[in-house]
């Protein structure tokens, strides 16, 4: 039921782990099923130079988080804010209908991290 891309990210997630010296952290949980995504950002001159994630959730949530880290690395924070859940879903080669909400988790966690970053300054 999952695309090849999703399975790849699920088996070998990119940028997965904790970051001790993050510029900002954002976390979001799903009301619906009880899952959590956490994003760590390192920002220099408004550019996201490094990013890591941790996720508790289904394969769609893990793959979404992983793909999103690839998408934001090297982008400015404003560019990163513009990434929509649909772009992310396209990047993953689609998600099964009941799993569409899982992609929101990652996007929201990223937004929270960026907000936190902006707040700090």
């Amino acid at each position: 039921m999952y695309s090849k891309k999703v399975l790849e990210h699920f088996q070998n997630p990119h940028n997965q782990g904790k970051m001790d010296d993050a510029s900002a952290v954002g976390e979001d949980g799903s009301q619906a099923c009880g899952d959590v995504v956490k994003f760590y950002l390192k920002v220099k001159n408004n550019i996201i130079t490094d990013v890591m994630f941790e996720t508790l959730g289904c394969a769609a949530a893990i793959a979404s988080s992983s793909a999103l880290t690839d998408m934001v690395k090297g982008k400015t924070i404003d560019e990163a804010l513009k990434i929509t859940k649909n772009q992310l879903i396209d990047e993953l080669g689609g998600l099964p209908a009941p799993k569409l909400h899982c992609s929101v988790l990652g996007v929201d966690a990223l937004h929270k991290a960026i907000e936190n970053y902006k707040d700090q300054r």
Partner: protein, 411 residues
């Protein structure tokens, strides 16, 4: 990669002997069992034999066995059929007792009945997933007409105290009738409607001799595909005298109770599958499966820290080992195992269409976060020791990896 199947509660492979018994009924004895000619008679011989085989297993009369498309239909027939028939007889304000851990095939017809003015009591379960028979006694009201309790729970495998419940109901019915008999005809109302006892035995039939007589059961549902038989066929046992209104009309099969051309190959398969459950065979298979299950439990204990066994092995089918692996979401575990060729199931909210954790686990008092990490292993008679060891070998690193990814798990 050798695939390993540990999801026998979902369905089982068709046994070779069952398959062999079914084969002639596709193209050779293809007749319509309701036809009078020899083609029909040949098909009828097959279905008649199967009816006897099912009746022998359940310890009832052949005429008390109705063939259906499976337990879902049987459950619907039991609940809606009984209530419909009683309603036609003028019984009003009826009350049903069931449990919160029933299959949706029981729960949803009950909810449908609620909409028509029927009152339903949903009994809780103990921490091990079993209903307490005392709770049934306490829930009985004057207008109770049906108690529907599953024989074994599909998720954790808990066996319900069916005989005890059956006895409670029987005594209640006898007392009520006696009181009525001892009341002056002028003063007493209509003859009291007894409480009928239905049990969905889908998950139990493979492991427990479901003797309806000994257990005081009036109606029973089962599916062939859980006992190494074919899908799409099952049986409904209904004791002589229990009023049932059919749910579908047409060809008048099964004494008008279940219209529709006999699925003769399937029915023959059901008969052939149930014959294999004779006491000796069943005991042998139960022992074998329990041994594999216990090996799985001890291997998990040795290799995976912080694993919670939700199945109470002292009161469960021999096939069930239901686990929670806190910190590792169930659907992810399932998928990771699947990529290794291993099939299990999960009660995680992520894998349910409704995004709600399994109602059974919640009813057992398991917290949602823990239910979220649940994996159900249900073993079958073909699983080997190597299978089990392979599963745990693959499972341990998967749990470790998912826990490591989890932002809220204390590593």
């Amino acid at each position: 990669m050798k695939k390993i199947y540990l999801d026998h509660s979902a369905t089982t492979p068709v046994d070779k002997n069952v398959f062999k018994a079914m084969l002639p009924y596709f193209s050779d004895c293809f007749g319509n069992a309701s036809s009078i000619h020899s083609f029909g008679a040949d098909a009828l011989t097959g279905t008649d034999k199967a009816r006897e085989q099912v009746a022998n297993y359940l310890h009832c009369g052949p005429s008390e066995v109705i063939f259906t498309s499976g337990a879902t239909e049987s459950d619907n027939l039991a609940i809606k059929g009984l209530i419909g028939a009683l309603r036609e007889r003028g019984v009003e304000k009826m009350h049903i007792i069931t449990s919160i851990v029933e299959h949706d095939a029981v729960l949803e017809p009950c909810m449908e009945m609620v909409k028509t003015g029927i009152e339903v009591t949903y009994l809780p379960v103990k921490a091990n997933g079993a209903v307490d028979a005392e709770e049934v006694r306490k829930a009985i009201k004057d207008n109770t007409v049906l108690v529907s309790i599953m024989w074994a729970n599909s998720e954790v495998g808990a066996i319900m105290p069916i005989r005890e419940i059956g006895k409670i109901i029987k005594k209640h019915n006898e007392r009520k009738l006696k009181n009525w008999n001892n009341t002056r005809p002028k003063e007493r109302g209509e003859k009291p409607t007894p409480i009928y006892f239905h049990s969905d035995a889908t998950q139990a039939i493979n492991f427990v001799q479901c003797d309806v007589n000994w257990n005081y059961v009036d109606m029973l549902s089962m599916s062939a595909h859980k006992i190494y038989g074919p899908k799409g066929v099952g049986a409904f046992y209904v004791k002589k005298g229990v009023p049932i209104k059919s749910l579908q009309r047409g060809g008048h099969q099964e004494g008008n109770l279940r219209s529709g051309t006999y699925n003769s190959s399937g029915i023959v398969g059901l008969g052939a599958a149930i014959v294999q459950l004779d006491k000796k065979n069943q005991e042998k298979d139960n022992k074998k499966v329990a041994k594999m299950r216990d090996l799985l439990v001890s291997e998990i204990e040795k290799n995976i820290p912080d694993a919670i066994l939700n199945t109470d092995r002292k009161n469960s089918t021999p096939a069930h080992a239901h686990y929670s692996f806190p910190g590792a979401e169930g659907e992810s575990v399932l998928l990771a195992l699947d990529l290794e060729g291993i099939a299990v199931s999960t009660g995680s909210a992520c894998s349910s269409g409704s995004l709600k954790a399994s109602h059974v686990l919640i009813a057992m008092g398991i917290r949602t976060e823990i239910a979220h990490t649940s994996i159900r292993f249900t073993l079958g008679k073909h699983n080997t020791e190597t299978d089990i060891r392979t599963v745990v070998k693959k499972l341990a690193p998967i749990i470790k990896r998912l826990r490591k990814m989890n932002p809220v798990y204390d590593k």
